[in-house]
């Protein structure tokens, strides 16, 4: 009995990591955009939702899941570029609340557009055939697709890390996050860097939406719930910190999953309790810089 429940806990831990992987992808986009642009993207959930719907559309046209994996982030990222250029850029320098308010309005528009195009009811999203079934991971059988989600998240993180740490453009991004003024003085077109960062952040959100689709199904409101939960992740991890987003995302996933095992109705509430504790003990989050708070 004890051994069985230990296995169950281990399996639930893995399920939590898969759930956490989605949070991580969502939150690093949010954190990347905030760290660079100091814009809290309230439409991030809407980009996530659009990612899932672009996937639905590609499958309708006869494409397969592997095409989606490439096409969805590209399409959502391009849309993100347009949004930054047309809507957010005019608001720089006008106070930190305005881009937030604008993206909030944008999320209404995006959700309603999707409702008009695809209807109010959701779509089921089949797990690709090759990723169906379960594999033995030592402690029991675990759905293959969830393993794939964890792996894909790892791949995105690795790619992002290589991009930020090993390329000259990544160097500019890191410098820009620290002091945009100096970077501008050095002759870098900061506006272009911000544009691209917003594009990357939203592309990752779209990718997360696609990965989440077979787990949760696709509905127009899917972005709203995860947005509030991602805020918990960024508060716990520290805003603007990618490492913090990764650690806190996985932690939040595991906490939800573990609480659901023991008290199913408290699964969602537990993460807010976690946030409350972090706010009391360490208001700036795990890796947050105290200065960012003010």
């Amino acid at each position: 009995m004890a051994g069985l429940s230990l296995n169950l806990i281990a399996l639930q831990l893995f399920a939590g990591l898969a759930l956490g992987a989605i949070y991580v992808l969502f939150a690093i986009g949010l954190s990347l955009i905030f760290g660079m642009l100091t814009v809290v993207n309230f439409a991030h959930g809407a980009f996530y939702m659009v990612g899932a719907y672009v996937g639905v559309y590609i499958l309708m046209l006869g494409g397969n899941f592997w095409i989606c994996l490439i096409a969805v982030p590209l399409a959502v990222g391009l849309f993100g570029l347009a949004v930054e250029r047309v809507l957010i850029r005019p608001l720089y320098g006008r106070g930190i609340d305005y881009p937030l308010l604008l993206t909030f309005g944008l999320s209404y528009v995006m959700v309603e557009m999707v409702r008009i195009a695809f209807g109010k009811t959701g779509y089921p999203f089949d797990t690709p055939e090759i990723l169906q079934g379960a594999v033995n991971i030592g402690v029991g059988y675990f759905p293959l697709y969830r393993l794939f989600v964890i792996g894909a998240t790892g791949a995105v993180l690795l790619a992002l890390w290589l991009f930020l740490e090993k390329t000259s453009f990544g160097l500019i991004i890191r410098a820009g996050a620290r002091d945009p003024q100096i970077v501008r003085v050095l002759g870098v077109d900061v506006a272009r860097v911000w544009l691209i960062v917003f594009g990357i952040g939203t592309a990752i959100a779209g990718f997360a939406g696609l990965l989440a689709a077979p787990l949760q199904g696709v509905i127009p409101e899917m972005g709203g719930t995860i947005l509030a939960e991602a805020f918990v992740v960024t508060v716990v991890g520290g805003m603007g910190s990618i490492g913090g987003a990764v650690l806190a995302g996985l932690l939040v996933g595991v906490v939800v999953s573990m609480t659901s095992l023991f008290a199913p109705e408290m699964g969602k509430v537990s993460i807010f309790a976690l946030m409350a504790v972090v706010l009391i003990v360490r208001p700036q989050g795990f890796f947050g810089r105290a200065g960012l708070m003010s």
């Binding site: 905030f34 100091t38 809290v40 809507l87 005019p90 608001l91 006008r94 930190i96 609340d97 305005y98 937030l100 308010l101 604008l102 909030f104 309005g105 944008l106 999320s107 209404y108 528009v109 959700v111 309603e112 557009m113 409702r115 008009i116 709203g224 947005l227 509030a228 939960e229 805020f231 918990v232 960024t234 508060v235 805003m239 109705e265 408290m266 969602k268 509430v269 807010f272 309790a273 946030m275 409350a276 706010l279 009391i280 208001p283 708070m293 003010s294």
Partner: protein, 328 residues
């Protein structure tokens, strides 16, 4: 701070502009408008909604406009007020005035709980933390089915007669209902106006304008923020309680984050940090919503787009834009 406004230091009294006059008698003027409003407004039900949302926005504006903190969790304050008022009537059969008092108390207490946690963060974090905490409140009320009715909402808040010192008013009659609710809203106008005119009101705005300077002047910035947030919770709790009486049901959506978002839109549309803005915003927002939903179910598209245009081009809102022209 008070020394500056001593009469001795003032220039010889210039004739009062309409703007100064309106500011001085803001609560009275707002009350007058509220009293006349249903006579020019053909749909009394819509007028009642405007009153309640105006009051909700009035409370929100205290934090957003005057204190300068953007809260995305005011649905929790509004919703707690509504639920407590409803629970008092449905489960305990308490008289209506006790229920309303409990609604206000609920708003205050919830604001204290959320405030204590959220005030620990500043700037942009505040919006995120308040939104996350109000989402937590949503889940808690959703789970407490025995008390709140969960997904189905709290039903059966039937108040037919409002009994004021022996005078029985028929609450079913739309116009009577409007004026009963208007009574509370007018009281709120005067309380809010008093708060804003007090030295504490000046400190609230000082904190918004320059936190460091306010702190250097010896004011407790954190406490000012917390008290203001709690006061805002009182107004929003009252609005929620009135909403519960008006709808005779508390839907769970009242705690949804869209209810928080709506009040942000209302306050910005009307003009943040102005006394008349929230009411004007509520009227504009609800009329627009009613108008648009006549010809399309996708009113959120139009409302979202109008809000974006407002953020981009008219951040001062309707009333804010008007007074910036009228100010000398």
């Amino acid at each position: 701070m008070n020394e500056i406004t001593q009469p001795i230091l003032r220039a010889p009294a210039a004739p009062e502009s309409w703007f100064q006059f309106a500011t001085r008698h803001r609560a009275g003027i707002a009350s007058l408008v509220v009293l006349i409003f249903p006579l020019v407004m053909p749909f009394t039900a819509l007028a009642v909604n405007i009153l309640i949302y105006g009051l909700y926005a009035l409370g929100f504006n205290l934090v957003f406009g005057y204190l300068g903190l953007l809260s995305f969790g005011h649905a929790a304050l509004f919703g707690t007020g509504a639920y407590l008022c409803g629970i008092a009537i449905v489960h305990f059969a308490l008289p209506w005035f006790v229920a309303i008092a409990l609604g206000i108390l609920g708003g205050l207490m919830m604001a204290l709980l959320i405030g204590v946690l959220a005030i620990r963060t500043r700037g942009i974090y505040f919006a995120m933390v308040t939104m996350a905490l109000s989402q937590c409140v949503y889940y808690l009320f959703y789970q407490a089915v025995d008390w709140t009715g969960g997904e189905n909402g709290l039903r059966g808040i039937n108040v037919r007669v409002i009994d004021i010192l022996g005078v029985k008013l028929n609450f079913i009659n739309p116009l009577t209902r409007y004026y009963v609710i208007a009574g509370f809203v007018i009281a709120a106008f005067f309380v809010l106006s008093r708060i804003l005119a007090s030295p504490f009101g000046a400190v609230i705005e000082a904190v918004r304008e320059n936190e460091t300077r306010a702190r250097a002047s010896g004011y407790d910035v954190t406490m000012t923020r917390l008290i203001t947030f709690v006061l805002s919770g009182g107004f929003c709790g009252l609005a929620g309680a009135l909403q519960a009486l008006h709808l005779s049901i508390v839907p769970i959506e009242i705690l949804h984050y869209e209810t928080s978002g709506t009040v942000v839109m209302v306050a910005l549309l009307g003009g943040m940090g102005t006394f008349f803005g929230p009411m004007i915003g509520a009227a504009a927002f609800l009329m627009l919503e009613n108008l648009v939903s006549l010809w399309t179910v996708h009113w959120q598209l139009i409302v979202g787009a109008v809000f974006m245009i407002c953020v981009l081009f008219f951040p001062a809102g309707i009333w804010g834009t008007l007074i910036s022209r009228g100010k000398p």
